[in-house]
């Protein structure tokens, strides 16, 4: 894991671009490390008017996996769904962001054959993972609709797409694509597979169950409400076979075999 500089730092927003249903924020992080590990995350807050929105929120910073780190710039993908994401989504280039990170433990490097599985906004950390692994690894992405699926354009090569409404790609769940990919792999033989997944809790639970059944290693990037992101508040725990662990310092990427059924959501 890459260490974070101590404290939060102010970084200007370089770009705020709409990509279908999502917003892509590019932040100029001159004072942060250039080599965060895919799967690590940052705590974000706007410099101005953080706490002056509807219901006098947001108050706490919000956690986001970085989608890409390139030439001192960090990419974050977000969906405007609450007071925090709403404030971030409306920021203009040049405005300041408070940034703490990179935080947490990301995806592990491995000699296994990777398969990347993403759902919705959870596709974000798979982008930098693809940058690291190269474009040959299959990328399977699930979205609600064609509008959301526009985020797939950020990936190299041709990701396989499934949508809930069938408006683009297969009218299926992304786990169906994964099951088929695993079938193909076992027919061919060769190196062990390793699934890297991030997405909504029901998707991760399905990936966990499927990989458990098929005895395939899987690393899951989970999400949980966080107040601090650095182990201080003990608020972001998830149940594992060893009891509750803090997702911010012991995750957010966890090995599927350490999780309990239903532990990532249902």
């Amino acid at each position: 894991m890459t260490l974070a500089p101590f404290g939060r730092r102010l970084a200007p927003l370089a770009e705020n671009r709409r990509i279908g249903a999502y917003q892509l924020l590019v932040v100029e992080d001159r004072d942060g490390p250039g080599d965060p590990q895919p799967g690590q995350f940052y705590m974000l807050a706007s410099e101005e008017r953080w706490g002056a929105g509807e219901g006098e929120r947001p108050y706490l910073p919000r956690a986001f996996s970085f989608a890409r780190a390139r030439e001192g710039r960090l990419w974050f993908l977000l969906e405007d769904i609450g007071p925090g994401t709403h404030r971030l989504a409306e920021l203009e280039p040049g405005e300041g962001l408070w940034l703490t990170g990179p935080l947490g433990i990301g995806f592990e490097a491995s000699a296994d054959q990777p398969i990347l599985v993403g759902g919705g906004i959870g596709t974000a950390p798979l982008l930098c993972l693809q940058d690291q692994l190269g474009p040959d690894a299959p990328v399977l992405l699930g979205f609600r609709s064609a509008e959301h699926a526009q985020a797939a354009e950020l990936f190299a090569g041709e990701p396989q797409i499934a949508t809930d409404d069938g408006s683009i790609g297969r009218h299926a769940l992304v786990t169906e694509l994964l099951n088929e990919e695993l079938d193909r792999r076992s027919a061919v033989g060769g190196r062990r597979s390793r699934v890297y997944a991030c997405g909504p809790p029901p998707m991760l639970e399905a990936v966990r169950a499927l990989c458990g059944e098929r005895e395939v290693a899987a690393e899951l990037a989970l999400e949980s409400g966080m107040a601090c992101g650095f182990g201080a508040c003990f608020g972001c725990v998830v149940p594992t076979k060893d009891g509750y662990i803090r997702l911010c310092v012991d995750g957010p990427v966890l090995q599927a075999q350490d999780l309990v059924p239903g532990g990532v959501g249902d």
Partner: protein
């Protein structure tokens, strides 16, 4: 230098118990944490005799300018803390205060005597006030209960005993006076205020522990009043906390009668908030001194 109950500190800024895990923070920020350590005294998370898993999630809810937490005191237990955590906390560049909670007097005696026996420990805070655990609330909410517990613990150590007061008591002043008369060296306040939130879709309690404790700027005015009142009621030092987010806030608590202050929820927003608040406080004190010296002439 600055002195709290006979312990020399480099300044008056502590952390609220349970709002900073210096061991986890060192994993995240490396040794830069030690070089720029944000507090003048480090207060541990509350330790209980037996290990605890804590409350089921969800444990957090954001409020206007604040936070409700329902953490439930997860910790390794006394034995695990002394063996695994204490040696790491001893590497911090500031004195250590260990916070303990016992569910009866026997547990409290064991916790206090074993913590006090360790030279790494400079002060002991008695958490009688955590609203997430039933017994904690009862002991700290009642002057007689508080006095009885402090009376039992006082002979066990010469190290300073700090009684953490709960704001969920009818008369925090009376509890503070009872603690002082029983031999406490200081009081600290406030702990979180009891609160709750409902699930936006189901209207059922959101938090896994049903209720939680409210903290952050949302509680600052209440904390300031309680500190003001308690500091007048006792002669021992009062450590003031509750929504402190700036040097200006810290100065207000000191003006209200606090001897030292603690930063809690603001550290969640900025891991280095304690250091910023210290700097702002120093700048403010200098301005006040310059102003008063000018006023004399």
């Amino acid at each position: 230098m600055f002195e709290l109950c006979g312990v020399e500190l480099r300044g008056p800024v502590l952390n609220g118990s349970g709002t900073y895990d210096a061991i986890a923070a060192r994993r995240v920020f490396g040794d830069e944490l030690l070089e720029r350590f944000p507090f003048d005294c480090f207060v541990s998370k509350t330790i209980t005799l037996a290990p605890r898993q804590g409350n089921p999630p969800p444990r957090l809810w954001e409020t206007p300018a604040g936070l409700i937490n329902s953490i439930g005191l997860p910790n390794k237990g006394l034995e695990g803390f002394l063996a695994e955590d204490l040696p790491k906390l001893a590497e911090l560049p500031v004195p250590l205060c260990v916070s303990v909670m016992g569910f009866d007097h026997e547990e409290l005696k064991k916790l206090v005597s074993e913590a006090a026996a360790r030279e790494e420990v400079s002060l002991i805070e008695l958490n009688f006030s955590c609203p997430n655990v039933e017994t904690g609330l009862i002991m700290g909410a009642d002057p007689t209960e508080t006095a009885a517990a402090v009376t039992v613990l006082r002979p066990l150590t010469d190290k300073p005993l700090i009684v953490k007061l709960t704001p969920n008591a009818t008369e925090p002043d009376a509890v503070a006076r009872a603690a002082e008369e029983a031999g406490a060296d200081a009081v600290s306040l406030i702990n979180t205020l009891k609160g709750m939130a409902l699930h936006p879709q189901t209207n059922e309690p959101w938090l896994g522990g049903t209720t939680g404790g409210v903290s952050g700027p949302a509680v600052r005015a209440i904390a300031l009043q309680q500190v003001h009142s308690v500091a007048k009621a006792v002669r021992i030092p009062a450590i003031g906390m509750g929504g402190i987010a700036s040097g200006r806030d810290a100065a207000d608590f000191l003006s209200a009668g606090a001897t030292a202050i603690a930063v809690g929820t603001e550290s969640f927003r900025d891991p280095a908030a304690g250091a910023r608040i210290s700097t702002e406080l120093k700048t403010l004190s200098r301005k006040v001194r310059e102003f008063s010296s000018g006023a004399v002439r």
